[in-house]
Amino acid sequence: MFFSRTQRRNPAYRQGFMEMLTVAPGIAAWGLMTGVAMAKSGMSTPDVLAMAILVFAGSSQLAAIPLLAAGAPLWVILATAFCVNLRFVVFSAHLRSYLMHLPRRQRVTAGYFVADLTYVLFTKRYPVPGTTEQERADQMAYLAGNATINWLSWTGCSVLGVVLANYIPSAWGLAFAGVLALTGILCSLATSRMRVLSAMMAAVVAIMAYALPLKLNILVAIAAAVVLCSVLESYLASNVREA
């Protein structure tokens, strides 16, 4: 069971929790500033709180706020949220082989909680899907522990940001702590030349394609980096075989 007691007793749950905890201050600061932005958007307090607690996707929240304020049609707002979230669709393709052993309801529950950093830390900790019962149980426990602290620090601080909106000037630049948390994780992933190449390719494409609407530059950048590295990898492998 996802989030069951057995899962919380698994040592991997604690491991996932602790690994995310060192990143949590960045997530917290980011959540706080998202809360402030939502509170100042002119939405009513119950709506802002509902958004802070339920949606759990910072970039789609920030994209939806001006549309809600402008009274955009429902389908436009949902289509925007979907497009801004498209990178998660890519992540779900990667996670499929890790999760298919669970019943659907639990898979979808797990899916809701797999935000960017949980995905990144999980696939870093477990590069291949588990094959035995025990490995799978450990992986799911890690995922649950990691997601728990991520959800708590993001949502808790968003709510705090909504409440304290008038006392936290955005001029302090607290949101930059979120960028730094991701920078730290980015550095920790840079363990091979190919991965560094992937990061550089993605950065260049994301900047060049920045003018695309709906944050589609991120999706294009991920696709370009993955294709470049895959092609290069198979080219290098075939060269080694011929030599």
Binding site: A50, G173, L180, A211
Partner: protein, 127 residues
């Protein structure tokens, strides 16, 4: 009645809009659908091997694509000044990480080191 309206308005409940609330609930559904997209259906299928291998490059690419524009761009334009606190904050954070890599607190240190360079430059010098 007036007292009730005053009390409700303190919490913003007097202008509560069910349509906005419905939109928010449906946005949460969009979060679930996008994050579970390829494992909602029960049908068995597997990613082709090349795609499965290529996926190992997706996490670092995703992070890079999200944060590098946050550091190097202002309002959609590549920065054209060195007087930008984000450059030095990010460099200080990365330097700390590679100095302390392997330690359990390396990412926490990245945040602290980066902010302690960023905040004085950003607030003090308005970079």
């Amino acid at each position: 009645m007036d007292a009730l309206i005053t009390w409700l308005s303190v919490w913003g409940l007097n202008d509560w809009n069910p349509w906005t609330f419905l939109t928010i609930v449906l946005m949460a559904c969009v979060t679930v659908i996008t994050r579970s997209f390829f494992f909602i259906a029960d049908e068995p299928w597997n990613l082709p091997t090349w795609a499965q291998r290529g996926m190992q490059y997706a996490p670092i690419a995703a992070l890079s694509a999200v944060i590098i524009p946050e550091i190097l761009m202002t309002k959609g334009i590549f920065i054209h000044t060195w007087a930008d606190a984000r450059i030095y904050g990010a460099l200080a954070g990365a330097a700390y990480f590679f100095w302390r890599r392997g330690s359990a607190q390396a990412v926490l240190g990245t945040i602290v080191a980066g902010m302690s360079v960023y905040i004085p430059l950003h607030v003090g010098l308005a970079w």
